[in-house]
C-alpha cells in the first residue's frame, strides 16, 4: 500500500467479544479504516488469533487479550495490557454479549439471568468506566467514542424467547443515553448500535439449529443481517462523520 492511499491513523480501538460474529467483523473493518485493534476474547483463542492475523495483514497492530467481561479484575487487567502494548485508547466497542438459552421467564434459572446481566450490563458499564477514565478530557485524555452494541430486542421485549436479554439491552440503551449526557462536554461520544438478527453463533447457542431461518421470516427486509453490515454501522458511528451523534442508539434491524 502506498503512503497516499493508506487510511489515516485512527488510534486504538478495543472490541470486546471480538473473536467471533459482529465483533470479529468490526475488528477487521476497523483495521481497514485505520485503527489498531485490541481483540478481546474469553475462550476461543484460535478464533481471536485469526482476527489478529487479519488485522495485521491490513497493516495495523493487533493484540489478542483474554478477559471475562463479567469480572472486574479481568477488565482492569485487559485495559492495563492495552495501555502498555497498544497505547492510548480512542474507541471502545462494547460488543461482548450473550442471550442465554431461549425460553419463557417462568422456566429460567437465576444463574442464567445473572450470567446475562453480568456480561451484557455490568461488564459493559465497567468497560465504559475504564474507557472514560482514559478518554475524558477532564482526566487529561484526548476524547474518544464508545459504541454499545445493543439489540432491537430492547424495544420488542422478546417474549417467549429471552425477556432477560431484552432487559439487558434496554439497560445498555439507558447507559448510552445517561453516560452520553454525562461525558458530552468531555470529548467522549457514547452511541448505541441496535443490531438486527445477524448471522452469528449467538442464535443457535440460544435456540438450537434452525432458529436463524425461523427468525428471518419475521424480518420486514426478508433476510437476516450479515456481521459485516453491523460492522459498517459501528464503524460509521466511530467515525468523524458521526461527530454530532451522541447519547443515542442507531437501529440497524432491517425494519424489525
Amino acid at each position: 500500500m502506498s503512503a497516499s492511499n493508506r487510511p489515516r491513523d485512527c488510534g486504538t480501538v478495543l472490541i470486546t467479544g471480538a473473536s467471533r460474529g459482529i465483533g470479529a467483523a468490526a475488528a477487521r473493518l476497523a483495521a481497514k479504516r485505520g485503527y489498531d485493534v485490541a481483540v478481546n476474547y474469553v475462550a476461543n483463542e484460535k478464533a481471536a488469533a485469526e482476527v489478529v492475523r487479519d488485522v495485521e495483514a491490513a497493516g495495523r497492530r493487533a493484540l489478542a487479550v483474554r478477559a471475562d467481561i463479567a469480572r472486574e479484575a479481568d477488565i482492569l487487567a485487559m485495559f492495563e495490557t492495552i495501555d502498555e502494548k497498544l497505547g492510548p485508547l480512542t474507541a471502545l466497542v462494547n460488543n461482548a454479549g450473550i442471550a442465554g438459552k431461549t425460553g419463557r421467564v417462568e422456566n429460567v434459572t437465576a444463574d442464567m439471568v445473572k450470567a446475562v446481566l453480568d456480561l451484557n450490563v455490568f461488564g459493559a458499564l465497567l468497560c465504559a468506566r475504564e474507557a472514560v477514565r482514559r478518554m475524558s478530557t477532564k482526566r487529561g485524555g484526548k476524547g474518544g467514542v464508545i459504541v454499545n452494541v445493543s439489540s432491537g430486542a430492547a424495544t420488542r421485549g422478546s417474549p417467549n424467547s429471552y425477556v432477560w436479554y431484552a432487559a439487558s439491552k434496554a439497560a445498555l440503551d439507558a447507559i448510552t443515553l445517561g453516560l452520553g449526557l454525562e461525558v458530552a462536554g468531555e470529548g467522549v461520544r457514547v452511541v448505541g448500535m441496535a443490531a438486527g438478527v445477524t448471522e452469528t453463533e449467538i442464535h443457535e447457542a440460544a435456540g438450537g439449529p434452525g432458529r436463524l431461518q425461523q427468525m428471518a421470516k419475521m424480518i420486514p427486509l426478508g433476510r437476516v443481517a450479515q456481521p459485516e453490515e453491523m460492522a459498517e454501522a459501528i464503524l460509521w458511528l466511530m467515525s468523524d462523520g458521526a461527530r454530532y451523534c451522541t447519547a443515542t442508539t442507531l437501529r440497524a434491524g432491517g425494519g424489525l
Binding site: L181, E229, M230, C245, T246, R251
Partner: protein, 248 residues
C-alpha cells in the same frame, strides 16, 4: 452513470450541505428550491464544478402539481432516481399555540407532512421493484423536536415531525421487500436560516449552551448522517430514525 438523488429544499441549510456532500460522494443531484433561485444556482454550480451533474428545480412541495412536475423533470433531465431526501420544511413563526394562526399550522403541515408524503409516493412509484424500479433510499429529515415537543416555540412543528417519524416507520415496512429503504435523520439544533424564518435569527446561538455536546450543529454534521444513510453501508437500516442531536 452516477446515482441520482433529489434533495427537496436543497438551496439552503441542511439541504444545500447534503446536496454538496452527495456530489463529493459521487452522486448526481437534483436541487429543489421554492423561491431562492440564486442560492439554488450556487449549489448547482458547486456540484457541477465537482464534475457531477446537477439541476435546480423550482417547486412548492406543498402543491401536488409542483411535486409531480418536479419528479417528471428529474425523469427527463437526470434519469432513474436512486434517492430522495425529504428535507424541505418550515417551522412557522415561533410562539405559543394560543397565539398561532391556522395559516401557520396549516402551512407547516402542508409542506412538512403532506408534501413529504407526496414526494415519497412519487419516489416509490419510480423506485419500487414492484413497479419495475431498481430500488432506492428515501431519507426523511426529522427533528429532535419529536421527543422534546418544543413547548412555547412551535408545538405544531414538533407534531409535524412526529408524523414524519411514524411515516418513516410505516412506509419503511410497506416497501421493505421492494428494494426501498426508508430512514429518518432527526436533526438537532442546527445553524441555518430556519430560525430567522421563525422570527428568532439568534435561536441557535442562544440555545447552544443547552446542548450537551456544547455546540449547535453545522449543516454538514447533519448531512454526514443523511449521506451515510443513503449509502450501501446502511443496507440493513430501514423504517427507523437516527437522532443526530448532540445529546439533545
Amino acid at each position: 452513470m452516477n446515482k441520482v438523488v433529489l434533495v427537496t429544499g436543497g438551496g439552503r441549510g441542511i439541504g444545500a450541505a447534503t446536496a454538496k456532500l452527495l456530489a463529493q460522494h459521487g452522486y448526481d443531484v437534483a436541487v429543489n428550491f421554492q423561491s431562492n433561485l440564486t442560492a439554488a444556482q450556487k449549489v448547482v454550480h458547486e456540484i457541477k464544478a465537482m464534475g457531477r451533474r446537477a439541476i435546480g428545480i423550482r417547486g412548492d412541495i406543498a402543491k401536488e402539481a409542483d411535486v409531480v412536475r418536479m419528479f417528471e423533470a428529474v425523469d427527463e433531465h437526470m434519469g432513474p432516481l436512486y434517492g430522495l431526501v425529504n428535507n424541505a420544511g418550515i417551522t412557522g413563526r415561533i410562539g405559543r399555540l394560543d397565539d398561532a394562526s391556522a395559516e401557520t399550522i396549516q402551512s407547516t403541515m402542508d409542506i412538512n407532512v403532506v408534501g413529504a408524503i407526496l414526494c415519497a409516493r412519487e419516489a416509490v412509484k419510480r423506485m419500487s421493484t414492484k413497479h419495475e424500479g431498481k430500488g432506492g433510499v428515501i431519507v426523511n429529515v426529522s427533528s429532535v423536536a419529536t421527543t422534546l415537543g418544543n413547548p412555547a416555540t412551535y408545538v405544531w412543528y414538533a407534531a409535524s415531525k412526529g408524523a414524519i417519524d411514524a411515516f418513516t416507520l410505516g412506509l419503511g415496512l410497506e416497501v421493505a421487500q421492494e428494494g426501498i429503504r426508508v430512514v429518518g435523520v432527526a436533526a438537532g439544533l442546527t445553524d441555518t436560516d430556519l430560525h430567522a424564518a421563525g422570527g428568532e435569527p439568534d435561536r441557535a446561538k442562544k440555545l447552544a449552551a443547552a446542548v450537551p455536546i456544547g455546540r449547535v450543529a453545522q449543516p454538514g454534521d447533519i448531512a454526514e448522517a443523511i449521506v451515510w444513510m443513503l449509502s450501501d453501508a446502511a443496507a440493513y437500516c430501514t423504517a427507523t430514525t437516527l437522532r443526530v442531536g448532540g445529546g439533545r
